[in-house]
């Protein structure tokens, strides 16, 4: 598949207090950005269970973004620090399973940073376009063949 015509599927978990509001700002300000991100609103980046990320990859996502408030700004004091620690450890584990670290991204986007959200979406889409599709199948059905 030529990478130009390939449209990456991205899933983004955005915290409701900062990043989702930031994405909303990008929308109301009519900023143009790549439409590849499927946004899922969560209460806090610290709410993102690593199982959500794995599920996204196993069901066809080519890249996953977690986005939360800047360090020190978490509505729940320290949820974004938990997200940061999980992100670093999960990135290491995903690499062992053959998923490149570029496919799993953590960004801090505040409620005022609509343009940063725009930039993150554009950059992430381009980066994944270069990497190509993940084509996950988890070894499914091999045992059902003759």
């Amino acid at each position: 598949m030529s990478n130009e015509s390939y449209d990456p599927k991205l899933v983004g978990f955005l915290c409701t207090w900062c990043s989702y509001t930031g994405a909303d700002l990008a929308g109301t300000a009519r900023m143009q950005y790549a439409p590849n991100m499927r946004i899922i609103r969560v209460m806090c980046s610290g709410r993102v269970d690593p199982q959500f990320v794995l599920k996204a990859f196993s069901e066809g996502a080519d890249g996953v973004l977690i986005s939360g408030c800047h360090p020190g700004d978490c509505h729940y004091q320290e949820g974004n620090y938990k997200a940061l620690r999980r992100h670093r450890l999960l990135t290491k584990m995903l690499e062992q399973l053959g998923i490149e670290k570029e496919r799993f991204r953590l960004e801090w986007v505040s409620a005022a940073e609509g343009s940063k959200f725009q930039k993150v979406c554009d950059e992430f889409t381009e980066e994944i376009r270069k990497l190509g599709p993940l084509n996950w199948n988890g070894g499914e059905h091999e045992h059902r063949e003759a």
Partner: protein
């Protein structure tokens, strides 16, 4: 007919033999079992052949206990045959329940495993480069071997499974409870794991030694330190899978002063044992500084192999991505 004893079959797939041992380890209790049932198939102990099973009527065996993961076409054939002949199938032990230790083969594929086993291990002497072939012609006769899959499967990824007996190997009391429940017809809902649905920490006698706020400042591996035999392992900075693992094992490892490795798999509320443990462990790392977090994460050697030691094939991702295997 009503006086006829229920028929039982045992079979093994990709496993070490420890689960067979767990049946023998029932010791005198096995006599009670033998008294109550008729064993019609048990390759490790009794001389029955595949054709004997084929000759039995479908559904004529009350229960089949199958241990081991599925990674060969022969194993698939046998478990499909047993599924037809048995009314109930019990996945016996971690390998058939979760994929188990053989499931770690899912970090590789057939080609890389064969290359390692038949060419590159230090103890391999194979000057002619002979590898097992599925078909071989010898003096006009065709010899065959089962095919070897790229991926290791848990039993329920291949056939329908009624119950799961967890553990590496399942402890004696859980096996006896399962056998008695089957004999008395007092079975829980289909698909149940026959062990309490709570985490190991709930039952762990070291639970009281847990500090008010659990934090880890340094990760230690069991061989690097002399482990305190009374304090919670995580509080000592030693990775213990207890928080993400189902209880019922009798804390055999903890009593032996070794941390939990996770052989009972997750509780019913959890899809992915490794991810859930990763989440718990990352939350208690005692730093908010990006650089320090990265340094601490660097000291966690082989997170995938440690967190999925027994459950890689039944995890959400199931295996390493094939395209990434070199």
């Amino acid at each position: 007919m009503s006086t006829e004893k229920p028929k039982v079959a045992f079979y093994w797939c990709s496993s070490c033999g420890g689960c067979e041992e767990s049946i023998v380890d029932l010791a005198e209790d096995i006599l009670k079992v033998v008294e109550a049932v008729e064993i019609v198939f048990w390759p490790v102990a009794l001389d029955f052949k595949k054709k004997d099973v084929e000759a039995m009527e479908d559904g004529s065996i009350a229960v089949g206990f199958i241990n081991g993961a599925v990674r060969l076409s022969e194993q698939r054939e046998m478990v499909e045959l047993l599924r037809k002949k048995c009314q109930l199938i019990v996945a016996h032990g971690s390998c058939s329940h979760l994929g188990g230790i053989p499931g770690l083969g899912n970090f590789w594929n057939k080609e890389t495993i064969f290359n390692r086993a038949y060419h590159t291990t230090p103890s391999t002497e194979n000057p002619d480069g002979v590898v097992p072939l599925e078909k071989y012609d010898l003096d006009g006769k065709e010899l065959t071997l089962p095919s070897f899959y790229d991926t290791v499967y848990s039993l329920d990824q291949v056939i329908d499974v009624d119950y799961y007996l967890p553990g590496c190997a399942p402890p004696r009391d859980l096996i006896m409870n399962a056998v008695l429940a089957i004999l008395e017809g007092k079975l829980p809902p289909k698909g149940s794991v026959l062990s309490p649905n709570k985490s190991l920490c709930d039952d762990c006698e070291r639970n009281d030694t847990k500090p008010e706020k659990m934090v880890i400042t340094e990760i230690k591996r069991p061989w690097e330190v002399i482990m305190d035999d009374e304090t919670c392992f995580l509080a000592q900075g030693i990775i213990c899978m207890g928080p993400a693992t189902r209880t019922g094992c009798g804390e055999r490892c903890i009593i032996g002063n070794m941390p939990c490795r996770g052989c009972f798999g997750p509780t019913d509320q959890v899809f992915d044992q490794g991810a859930k443990f990763l989440s718990a462990l990352a939350s208690i790392l005692d730093t908010d500084d990006e650089k320090e977090i990265e340094k601490l994460v660097d000291t966690i050697v082989d997170p995938a192999g440690t967190f999925y030691r027994f459950s890689l094939p039944t995890s959400i991702l199931r295996r390493k991505r094939m395209e990434a295997i070199k």
